[in-house]
Amino acid sequence: MSSHQTVNIVMIEDDEGHARLIEKNIRRAGVNNPIRHFLEGTGALQYLFDAPDGPARNGPALVLLDLNLPDMSGIDILQRMKAKDSPLKRTPVVVLTTTDDKVEIERCYDLGANVYITKPVNYETFAQAIRQLGLFLSVIQVPDPDMD
């Protein structure tokens, strides 16, 4: 992790239960970074690109992205973030969703997703996966956003 600035975790997840479970398990893995949770895509995009304390203007971030959102597809957000002139094109995106459709997975990686995780229905597996993700988050290096 960046030495001078803490990495914000932005979680875009429309299911509050899932969000809570994910947060709990990340915490259990010992990750204490601040987590910002958004229930829908519009607010999340605004925060990501325009908010003064958002990742585009302020500090490194890591995005946990669900694909099934009420107002848009997570893929739209991924596309916006990974666009050529986006300030967030280097920000790591972890797609965390229920879909295990091959085509969908390929599409996400093609668009520049860094990790794609299918939410296991079995809770034990789910909790374990999230905890491992937490461990992963605690060791990865996240670049500062492009300020140009």
């Binding site: 299911d15 239960g17 899932h18 479970l21 709990k24 099934n68 229920t98 879909t99 939410k119 229905v121 079995n122 809770y123 034990e124 789910f126 909790a127």
Partner: protein
């Protein structure tokens, strides 16, 4: 439309037939006319012949008179020669005329009269000659012009004139008759020709009309055919769309069902985890201050909570399996089939090999007979057959050694694959039901959700095949998979 056409056809046929009849009538009329004119010519020549004969007869009568007269006047015996010769010729001539006019009674009558008169006349003449020879004058009266003579001669002339006249009259009458019939037959021929022309024109018109109608019907048929084809294409694409819609629906529903399930299971796990500290708390409280721990609290934490959580867990797990099954079915429906030549013998062998462990464990005898090669989607066929064989192994009867037979044959452009077992069998009332999703038959002593056969049937249908079951309870079962020999390559129905 059809009856009208049929009536028109019949009319055309009748018209053509009538045309030919007309043609025959015209030809007959012409022949008849020709024959008539031939007849007429014969009649004319006949009349002329009769006239000529009568004239000859007259000449003979005159000659005999002249020769007699000569003899009477000159007494030369040469006249007598001529007389005798002519007297012999006259009956011959009369017979000739009789032969010619044998068909005419009035002429015959006249001829008879003539014959009698001639005989009488000859008698008279002979008498006069005999008288002369005897030395007399041979003349009874003052001159040669004896009254009786003259009367007879006059009568003879009258008769011969009458006969000639009669022949002429007959000729005229016959001519008129012949002309009349010629006119009639000409009229018939002309009428037949006109009718023929009319019929021909009508037939040509009707035929042209029919041909035109046929052409237009052909065009219509072509159009209908095209319409039908496009309708089939349209329906097919509609069906494909509807099918894709259902698949997508199932996919979305099962996906969206999964999401809350994660919560239910997740928080159930959280609850389960929370029981542990609660239990510890109660243990501690019992130890430190037992009076604050009621039986109710203890029961709630130690019995009620774990039980409730256990039920929630098994139910959600079951629901998860069901959702996964739907998801799998819908995903299977979305997969694009890739037809290829599938060596069914190798495929069956592979399936048996993969189940060998279970087969050995249960001591089952598996017999495989040759199965014809089929062009189809390998994965789908494999799933179907393997499902059937698995079921056969799964539902054997415990009290008798298992025996499973897999065989195949070609039947009218299709390949039939049979999986037969001697297991517990299926109640006939359940033969359809077992192919429904989540439905099972018999005692529920084996794990499973009632998905396998539904999946098998869905796959069989997608491959253009059918699957049926024949079984008697406790007598084993035969599952028959019928597949088309070759599955047509399909366009993707992905949406």
């Amino acid at each position: 439309m059809m009856t009208r056409q049929r009536r028109a056809n019949r009319v055309i046929f009748l018209a053509v037939a009538a045309g030919f009849v007309m043609l025959a009538v015209a030809a007959l009329a012409v022949v008849w006319t020709f024959m008539r004119s031939q007849d007429y010519a014969e009649l004319v020549s006949h009349t002329i012949e009769v006239e000529a004969s009568v004239a000859d007869l007259n000449r003979l009568v005159e000659r005999i008179e002249a020769s007699r007269r000569g003899y009477l006047l000159e007494g030369d015996s040469r006249f007598l020669e001529v007389f005798e010769k002519t007297a012999a010729d006259i009956p011959v001539q009369i017979d000739r005329i009789a032969g010619l006019t044998a068909d005419n009674p009035s002429q015959m009558e006249r001829l008879d009269h003539f014959r009698d008169l001639t005989r009488q006349y000859l008698e008279l003449l002979r008498n006069s000659i005999v008288d002369k020879q005897a030395g007399g004058t041979g003349v009874r009266g003052a001159s040669l012009l004896d009254e009786e003579d003259i009367t007879v001669v006059q009568e003879l002339r009258d008769i011969s004139d009458a006969m000639a006249l009669e022949e002429r009259r007959l000729l005229v009458a016959r001519e008129a008759e012949a002309n009349g019939s010629v006119y009639l037959s000409t009229a018939v021929a002309i009428a037949a020709a006109i009718l023929l022309i009319v019929v021909a024109a009508g037939t040509i018109w009707a035929t042209r009309r029919t041909l035109r109608a046929l052409t237009s019907i052909g065009v219509q048929l072509q159009e209908l055919n095209d319409d039908l084809e496009s309708a089939v294409v349209e329906r097919t694409s509609e069906l494909q769309r509807a099918n894709a819609e259902i698949q997508r629906f199932a996919y979305i529903v099962s996906h969206d069902l999964r999401s809350p399930l994660v919560n239910v299971m997740g928080f159930t796990a959280e609850l389960d985890a929370a029981i542990k500290p609660l239990n510890e708390l109660i243990d501690k409280a019992e130890e430190v201050a037992p009076e604050i721990v009621s039986e109710e609290t203890k029961f709630a934490v130690r019995e009620d909570l774990p039980e409730a959580i256990g039920f929630i867990r098994t139910s959600t797990e079951k629901m998860d399996r069901l959702i996964n099954a739907i998801l799998r079915l819908s995903r299977e429906g979305r997969r694009v089939l890739a037809p290829e030549a599938v060596d069914m013998n190798a495929l069956v062998e592979g399936i048996v090999d993969s189940l060998q462990h279970r087969i050995d464990e249960l001591g089952v005898t598996v017999e495989t007979e040759p199965v014809p090669t089929v062009v189809s989607d390998r994965l789908a066929v494999e799933q179907i057959v393997s499902n059937l064989v698995e079921n056969a192994i799964k539902y054997l009867k415990r009290d008798r050694p298992g025996r499973i037979t897999i065989r195949g044959k070609k039947a009218s452009g299709r390949v039939l694959v049979e999986v037969e077992d001697n297991g517990r069998g299926i109640d006939p009332k359940d033969h359809e039901r077992i192919f429904d999703l989540f439905r099972r038959s018999g005692s529920q002593d084996q794990p499973g959700e009632g998905i396998g056969l539904a999946h098998v049937r869905a796959l069989a249908y997608r491959l253009g095949g059918t699957i049926t079951c024949e079984s008697v309870l406790d007598q084993g079962a035969i599952f028959r998979l019928s597949l088309p020999m070759a599955l047509a390559p399909q366009q993707g129905v992905n949406t």
